[in-house]
C-alpha cells in the first residue's frame, strides 16, 4: 500500500517527463490527478484523440454568481501525461479535485495557475537566496535546466516544501487539499498493497500527504482502526468543509467487514468509469453527482453537485498557446508554451536552436536587421550566462538575455518582460516583443469531431444554415424586410456573444439612424469554435444566450450611461426586447443610478425616438423602451433638482439641456409611460427656476419647461391671457419679466440658452411683432456697460445659436422695427470678420479708453 506523492508544476516539461518515468517504474494501480472530479465519468471524451492544447471549459451561473474557468492541457502537461500514460499502463486514472464551479475556485479562471504565486513571500525569499529575479528564473535553474537529473524528485520536493513551508494556505486551498486527500484515502482503502501515484501541484503535495496519512478519526465506522486509512473518506466530510452541500448525504461508510476485506488485499471493486445513469452533456442541467454505480457499496468520495437552481457544465474547447501564455499575476503558470513544447519534443540544445531560429525568422520577416555577428554575440553571451548561472547549457532565459543584449541597441522604455511577471506592457521594444512571441508560439488545438458540444453550437449551426448565412460570403441585409430583420438579428446575437466569423461593416449606428441596410463581411474564423462553445455557458439557444450576455453587460456597465445606451441599442438590434424581463430591470437599475444628466439624456432621447417612431426594428411602443424612458425621466428630474453651481456660470451645459429637452418630449408625447405625474414634474421645474443656487442655464430651461408643460400656470406668478391671433404667445411677457431678474450679465446668456433649448417655439419668438422678451432683452443689452457687454457676449451668442438663421433674421427685423430704423435685417446677421475678433478689438478699445480716463485724458464719449 505505497502511495507516491508527486508534486509538479503545471505545464512543466521536466515534471511531465518525471511523471512518465514514475508511471513506467511504478506500474501503479491508481493514478490520482489534480483535475475536476466531476469529469471522471467523461475521461474518454478527453482521450478521443484531440490535437492539444485543449481545455476543459467550465461554467456556472446562479442568481448571485456567474463564473467561467479553464483547465488547460497541453502535450507537456504533467496531468495529461498522468492521464494518458496512466491509462496506457493499465492504471485506474481519476481526477480528484473539486469541480470548477465550486466556491473554492471563485475568482480563478485558470485551474492550473501556480498556486505558489498566491503566496509570494516564500518564493521571494528563495529568489533572494539564489540571487535570481523571478520564480521562472529559479525554476529554470533548478528544474528545466537539467530535467533528467537523478535527484529531480528530491529537488522538487525540497523546493515545494520550502515554498509551502510555514505558509498557512487560504480556506479555498485547504478545502481542495482536504478533498483531494479524501480521494487518496479512498484509493488506499480500495487498492490493497498495489502502488498508488498521486500527481498534484507541488504546492499542495505536502498538505495532501499530511492529510491522507493522518490516522483515522475515532468513531463507530473505524473498523478497529488497525490499518491507517481503512475508513473511507466521506465520513470525514471534506465536501462540507468546502462549503458545498452534496445533494444527498455522504455515502455510507464501509462496514467493518468490507473494510477488513479491502485491507486484506482483496481485489478492488470495479472502477466507476463512465457511470451509466449519467447524462452525457449536461449543459443546461446541474452536473449530477457521481454516484457509486453499485448502489453505494464502495466508497469513492462524493462529487459535490451544483445547487439545483444553478446552471453549470463543462465542455472541452480548443485552446491555444497564446491563451496559455496570456495569464498573468495569480492566474499565471509557465510562460513561453512554444519553447516548452520544443523542450518536450526534443532536448534542451534543440529547443534552444529552434528558439533562436524562430526569433531570427520573425525579426527578419519584420525587416529588423539581424546580422551574423549579432548572432555570434548572442550565442556567446548565452553560453557565458549559462556558465555564470551554473546551468549545464543555455536555458530559455540565458538565450533570451543573450539575444536581447545582442539585438537591442538602444535604451528600452520597458524592462525586459521575462524579468518579471505580467503581460507585455505597451512600449516594449519591438525586437523584445518578437522574442516573446516566438517563445509563445501560435499553436491552436483542435477537438476530435466526435467531441460533445453544448446545445448552443447546434442551435447556431442550424439557424445559420436555415438563413443561408453559413456560406462565407458577404451579406447585405435590408432591415425593412422581415427575412432581412431575422438574419440581422441572428448575426447581431452572435456579435454580442463575441463569436467571431462575421463583422458588421456598415449599418445604422444608433436607434434613429435613417440607414436601413446592413452589410456583414466574413472574417477569419480563428477561435470561432472555442468562442461558440464558451458562449454555451450563457444558455442553450441563441436567443437565450444573447439575452443573458446582454444582461451581464448591463450589470457590468453599472451606471455608465454611454455603455448602457450601447447595451440598449444592441438589445434592439438583437430583437431581444420581447425576450427579456431581467434585462429591463438591470438596464433600469443602471440608469437609475446615473450621475450626470447629460449622457442620461442621450440615452433617453434615443429610447424615446425608437419608442415613438421606429419602423425598422419593430420596437415602437415596446414596453422595454417605455420602461427605459420612464426610469431616465425620473432620474433626470432627480438630478436636475440637486444640481448646483450658480456661482460659476461656465457657459450652458448643452448635454444637460438636451436631457431636459428629451424630458419635455417624453411628457408631451409619451406622458402615459411616466410614473412621475406631469404636475409633479412642473413643480420640480418651478422650484428649480426660482432657485438662486441653481445654474442659470438650468433655471432658464426650467422656466421654459414650466411654460411648455403647464402654460396655464405661469411660473413667475403673473396672470396670462389666452393666446389670440396677432398677440405674442403666452409666457413671453412673463419671460420678459423673468429675464430682468436673472441678474449678472455673465448669467444672462446661459439663462436664455436654457430657455431657448426647451421652449423656443412656445415663446413665439418667431411671430411678426416685437415681443416683450425681445424688447426686454434690447433694453437690458442697451443698458449694459461696455465691460458687462463683453462679459455677456459669448454666452449670448451661444444662446441665440438655438435659433435657425431664418428665425434669427426675423428677430433682427423686429429689433430694427422696434428701434424705428430701416435696413436689411440680413445684413445685421452677417459680419465681415470673426465675431470673436471683433469682441477682442472692442475689449482692447475699452481698455484703452479706461486707461485714458484714469489719466484724465479721456475724450468726451
Amino acid at each position: 500500500m505505497t502511495v507516491t506523492y508527486l508534486g509538479v508544476r503545471h505545464h512543466s516539461p521536466a515534471c511531465a517527463r518525471l511523471v512518465a518515468r514514475t508511471i513506467a517504474e511504478l506500474r501503479p494501480a491508481h493514478v490520482l490527478v489534480e483535475g475536476p472530479a466531476d469529469l471522471n465519468g467523461r475521461l474518454d471524451e478527453l482521450l478521443l484523440g484531440h490535437e492539444l492544447p485543449v481545455a476543459v471549459f467550465s461554467h456556472y451561473r446562479d442568481a448571485e454568481r456567474a463564473a467561467t474557468s479553464w483547465t488547460p492541457l497541453c502535450d507537456y502537461s504533467p496531468e495529461w501525461i498522468a492521464l494518458t500514460h496512466g491509462r496506457a499502463a493499465g492504471a485506474d486514472v481519476r481526477f480528484i479535485d473539486l469541480p470548477a464551479w465550486h466556491p473554492a475556485f471563485e475568482g480563478r479562471a485558470n485551474r492550473y495557475a501556480d498556486a505558489e504565486a498566491r503566496y509570494a513571500d516564500a518564493t521571494a525569499r528563495l529568489c533572494r537566496r539564489f540571487g535570481v529575479d523571478s520564480v521562472d528564473a529559479l525554476w529554470d535553474r533548478m528544474v528545466e535546466a537539467d530535467p533528467d537529473a537523478a535527484d529531480l524528485t528530491a529537488r522538487l520536493d525540497a523546493y515545494f516544501d520550502v515554498v509551502r513551508g510555514d505558509t498557512e494556505a487560504d480556506a479555498p486551498d485547504r478545502a481542495r487539499e482536504e478533498y483531494m486527500a479524501s480521494w487518496v484515502r479512498a484509493a488506499r482503502a480500495a487498492t490493497g498493497d498495489r502502488p498508488i501515484l498521486v500527481v498534484t501541484g507541488g504546492f499542495h503535495r505536502p498538505a495532501i500527504r499530511r492529510l491522507a496519512e493522518r490516522p483515522p478519526a475515532p468513531g463507530p465506522a473505524a473498523g478497529g482502526g488497525a490499518v491507517p486509512g481503512d475508513r473511507a473518506a466521506p465520513a470525514e466530510a471534506p465536501a462540507s468543509a468546502a462549503g458545498a452541500a452534496p445533494t444527498d448525504g455522504p455515502a455510507p461508510a464501509l462496514g467493518p467487514v468490507a473494510a477488513q476485506r479491502l485491507a486484506d488485499g482483496e481485489p478492488a471493486p470495479p472502477a466507476d468509469g463512465p457511470v451509466p445513469g449519467e447524462r452525457p452533456t449536461p449543459a443546461t442541467a446541474p452536473v449530477p453527482a457521481q454516484r457509486p454505480a453499485d448502489g453505494g457499496r464502495h466508497a469513492w468520495p462524493e462529487v459535490p453537485a451544483a445547487p439545483e437552481d444553478a446552471l453549470a457544465g463543462s465542455f472541452l474547447v480548443p485552446y491555444s498557446f497564446r491563451q496559455l501564455d496570456a495569464f498573468a499575476g495569480y492566474e499565471s503558470g509557465m510562460p513561453s508554451p512554444a519553447y516548452h513544447q520544443w523542450l518536450w519534443e526534443d532536448d534542451r540544445e534543440a529547443a534552444g536552436d529552434r528558439l533562436v531560429r524562430s526569433v531570427v525568422g520573425r525579426l527578419r520577416e519584420r525587416g529588423h536587421p539581424v546580422s551574423t555577428a549579432s548572432l555570434v554575440a548572442a550565442r556567446t553571451s548565452a553560453l557565458a550566462l549559462a556558465a555564470l548561472r551554473g546551468h549545464p547549457g543555455p536555458t530559455r532565459l540565458d538565450l533570451l538575455d543573450g539575444l536581447a543584449g545582442a539585438l537591442v541597441t538602444e535604451a528600452l522604455d520597458e524592462p525586459l518582460p521575462w524579468t518579471r511577471r505580467g503581460p507585455l506592457r505597451p512600449g516594449t521594444h519591438p525586437a523584445v516583443v518578437a522574442m516573446v512571441a516566438a517563445c509563445g508560439g501560435e499553436r491552436v488545438g483542435r477537438l476530435h469531431p466526435d467531441t460533445p458540444v453544448p446545445p448552443l453550437v447546434h442551435d447556431v449551426t442550424t439557424r445559420l444554415a436555415a438563413l443561408g448565412l453559413d456560406t462565407g460570403e458577404p451579406v447585405t441585409i435590408r432591415l425593412t424586410e422581415p427575412s432581412g430583420l431575422e438574419r440581422s438579428r441572428v448575426l447581431h446575437r452572435l456579435r454580442v456573444l463575441g463569436v467571431p466569423g462575421h463583422e458588421r461593416v456598415s449599418g445604422p449606428s444608433h436607434g434613429t439612424d435613417p440607414v436601413v441596410e446592413e452589410r456583414w463581411e466574413p472574417r477569419r474564423p480563428a477561435g470561432r469554435e472555442a468562442a461558440l462553445i464558451e458562449a454555451g455557458s450563457f444558455g442553450a439557444s441563441l436567443d437565450e444566450a444573447a439575452v443573458v450576455a446582454l444582461g451581464d453587460r448591463a450589470t457590468a456597465a453599472g451606471s455608465d450611461c454611454g455603455r448602457l445606451a450601447e447595451v440598449l441599442f444592441d438589445t434592439v438590434a438583437c430583437g431581444a426586447t420581447e425576450l427579456t424581463g431581467d434585462l429591463v430591470a438591470r438596464l433600469r437599475s443602471g440608469l437609475a443610478a446615473a450621475a450626470r444628466p447629460g449622457p442620461l439624456g442621450t440615452a433617453l432621447a434615443t429610447a424615446l425616438g425608437l419608442w415613438r417612431h421606429d419602423r425598422v426594428y419593430g420596437v415602437a411602443r415596446d414596453p422595454l423602451l417605455g420602461g427605459v424612458v420612464d426610469t431616465a425621466v425620473s432620474r433626470v428630474l432627480w438630478l436636475v433638482e440637486g444640481a448646483g453651481g450658480a456661482t460659476a456660470p461656465a457657459g450652458p451645459d448643452r448635454e444637460r439641456l438636451g436631457a431636459l429637452a428629451a424630458v419635455r418630449d417624453a411628457y408631451l408625447h409619451a406622458g402615459a409611460l411616466l410614473t412621475v405625474p406631469r404636475g409633479a414634474a412642473v413643480d420640480v421645474f418651478r422650484r428649480v427656476s426660482r432657485d438662486p443656487l441653481a445654474p442659470p442655464d438650468l433655471r432658464g430651461a426650467a422656466f421654459g419647461l414650466c411654460r411648455v408643460l403647464a402654460p396655464e400656470h405661469p411660473p413667475a406668478g403673473h396672470g396670462t391671457r389666452a393666446p389670440r391671433a396677432g398677440r405674442p404667445a403666452p409666457g413671453t411677457e412673463d419671460a420678459a419679466v423673468a429675464v430682468r431678474d436673472v441678474g449678472e450679465p455673465r448669467a444672462l446668456g446661459d439663462w436664455l440658452a436654457g430657455l431657448f433649448a426647451v421652449a423656443r417655439e412656445e415663446l413665439g419668438a418667431t411671430s411678426a411683432e416685437p415681443g416683450p422678451l425681445v424688447a426686454a432683452l434690447d433694453d437690458l443689452v442697451t443698458a449694459m456697460t461696455e465691460t458687462d457687454f463683453l462679459v455677456a457676449l459669448p454666452s449670448l451668442r451661444d444662446a441665440f445659436a438655438y435659433f435657425p438663421p431664418a428665425e434669427r433674421e426675423q428677430i433682427a427685423a423686429r429689433l430694427i422695427a422696434r428701434r424705428g430704423l430701416r435696413g436689411s435685417s440680413r445684413a445685421l446677421l452677417r459680419t465681415t470678420a470673426d465675431p470673436m475678433l471683433i469682441a477682442r478689438a472692442r475689449e482692447l478699445e475699452d481698455h484703452v479708453s479706461r486707461t485714458l480716463d484714469r489719466f484724465g485724458l479721456g475724450a468726451a464719449r
Binding site: 528564473a137 554575440a377 556567446t380 541597441t409
Partner: protein, 366 residues
C-alpha cells in the same frame, strides 16, 4: 561597514574599491572559479560582490535585477563595450563603479563626458614643459584614462558619453575595434599602445539628456546596451531610501533616524509621480526626474530640517516643503500637477502621515 584608514575617513567619498576593500579581499581569497583573462575576480565572485551574498557576509550594493548584472558582466567578459542607459538617478554610475572595482580592483579610470570633453581627455596629452625641453618621450606623455586602461589592462568608465560631441565619441571607434592607440609622436614600438587583456569600457548615458539616438550607429554597434530601470518593488525602495538617508543624515550630524511612516509616504509619492499612476487609477507624470536618488536627497533634507529646526525627525510638512524644490524645479506645470496630486490623490488616503501630508498641502510654494 568597513573601517577605513584614518586618512580615507576624511574623504568625502572614497572609491568603491576602498569602501569595500575587505569584501573584495575576502572574495579574491575564496575565489576558485576561472577568471577571464585580466580580471581580478571570476564572474561569479564579481556578481556576488555587486548583488551580495548573505552567507559570505557580502552586502548587497546594487538594488536591481540580478539578470542585468549578469548580462553586464558577461558583456564585459566577451570583450564588448557595456553601455548602461536609463533615467537619471537609477544608479548607473554606481553600478559601473562597482563593476570596475570588482573586475579591475580600480574604479578611478573615469572619463567624464561633457560639452568640453576633447580627445585629449580620452587618449593622451603632453606635459608641455617636458615636451619643449626633451621632445616627445614617454616621460613627457600624459596618458588619459583610456590609454592607461589599455596599457594596464583595466576597465575604463566613460560617464555621460552622449554629452560629448559626436566627433569626440567617434574617437572611441578604432580604439574599441582595433584595441590599439597610435601615438605618432613617439618612435618605434612605443608609438603603438596595444590594449592588454582586462581592458574594456563601461559607458553610461542618460535618457533624459541627449538620448543615445545621437550616437553614431558605428559606435552603438560596439556596445551592448543595458537599460537600468527604477526599482520596481516598493518595500525594496523604501528600505534603500531608509538606509541611504540614514547614512547621509549621520554624516550631516543628525543622530535621529528618519521616521519609517514618513519615508513610506515620501517614497510612495515619488513612485506615483514618477509613473503617473496612483492606486486609485489615473494621474499625471511629472516631467521632473523623480528618481530614487532624488527621494534619498529629499529624505535627507527632511531629516536635516526636522533635526536642526525642531530637534525631531522630519514630518510630512517637511516633505511637502522639500518636494516643491525637487518635483517642481522650474516648471509651473509640474507644480500644478504636484498640487493636484496632494489635493486629490492624497485626500482619500488612510494613515496619519498621509493625512498630515494632505493637511500640509498649502505649504507648497507658488
Amino acid at each position: 561597514m568597513t573601517t577605513l584608514p584614518a586618512q580615507e575617513q576624511r574623504l568625502q567619498r572614497p572609491p568603491a574599491e576602498v569602501r569595500h576593500a575587505e569584501e573584495l579581499a575576502a572574495l579574491r581569497a575564496a575565489d576558485t572559479d576561472p577568471r577571464p583573462p585580466g580580471w581580478q575576480l571570476s564572474l561569479r565572485a564579481a556578481r556576488r560582490f555587486v548583488i551580495g551574498d548573505q552567507e559570505a557576509g557580502i552586502g548587497r550594493k546594487f538594488v536591481g535585477d540580478t539578470a542585468l548584472v549578469e548580462r553586464a558582466l558577461v558583456t564585459l567578459a566577451t570583450n564588448r563595450g557595456l553601455m548602461l542607459v536609463g533615467e537619471p538617478g537609477t544608479a548607473k554610475s554606481l553600478l559601473s563603479e562597482l563593476i570596475a572595482a570588482a573586475v579591475s580592483g580600480d574604479s578611478t579610470l573615469v572619463v567624464q563626458g561633457g560639452a568640453a570633453t576633447t580627445e585629449d581627455h580620452i587618449k593622451y596629452s603632453w606635459n608641455y614643459a617636458l615636451l619643449v625641453s626633451e621632445g616627445p618621450s614617454e616621460r613627457s606623455l600624459v596618458p588619459a584614462p583610456m590609454l592607461k586602461g589599455m596599457a594596464e589592462g583595466r576597465l575604463v568608465r566613460f560617464e555621460e558619453i552622449t554629452r560629448c560631441p559626436l566627433e569626440v565619441q567617434d574617437s572611441l571607434l578604432s580604439l574599441l575595434s582595433e584595441r590599439v592607440v597610435a601615438v605618432p609622436e613617439l618612435e618605434g614600438p612605443r608609438g603603438m599602445v596595444f590594449a592588454r587583456q582586462g581592458f574594456n569600457v563601461i559607458a553610461t548615458a542618460n535618457t533624459r539628456d541627449r538620448g543615445v539616438n545621437e550616437m553614431s550607429a558605428a559606435l552603438k554597434r560596439r556596445f551592448n546596451f543595458e537599460t537600468v530601470f527604477p526599482i520596481t518593488d516598493l518595500d525594496t525602495e523604501i528600505a534603500l531610501v531608509e538606509a541611504e538617508a540614514t547614512a547621509l543624515l549621520r554624516r550631516s550630524g543628525v543622530t535621529l533616524a528618519p521616521d519609517r511612516d514618513v519615508l513610506e509616504v515620501l517614497v510612495t509619492t515619488f513612485r506615483e509621480l514618477r509613473s503617473g499612476a496612483a492606486h486609485e487609477g489615473g494621474g499625471d507624470r511629472l516631467s521632473a526626474v523623480m528618481s530614487t536618488a532624488e527621494a534619498v536627497s529629499v529624505a535627507h533634507a527632511v531629516g536635516v530640517r526636522g533635526w536642526f529646526l525642531r530637534a525631531e525627525p522630519g514630518d510630512a510638512a517637511d516633505v511637502v516643503t522639500c518636494l516643491a524644490g525637487t518635483a517642481a524645479k522650474d516648471s509651473p506645470e509640474d507644480l500644478a500637477r504636484l498640487r493636484r496630486y496632494l489635493e486629490q490623490r492624497v485626500a482619500g488616503r488612510r494613515g496619519a502621515q498621509w493625512k498630515a501630508l494632505h493637511a500640509a498641502r498649502h505649504l507648497l510654494a507658488g
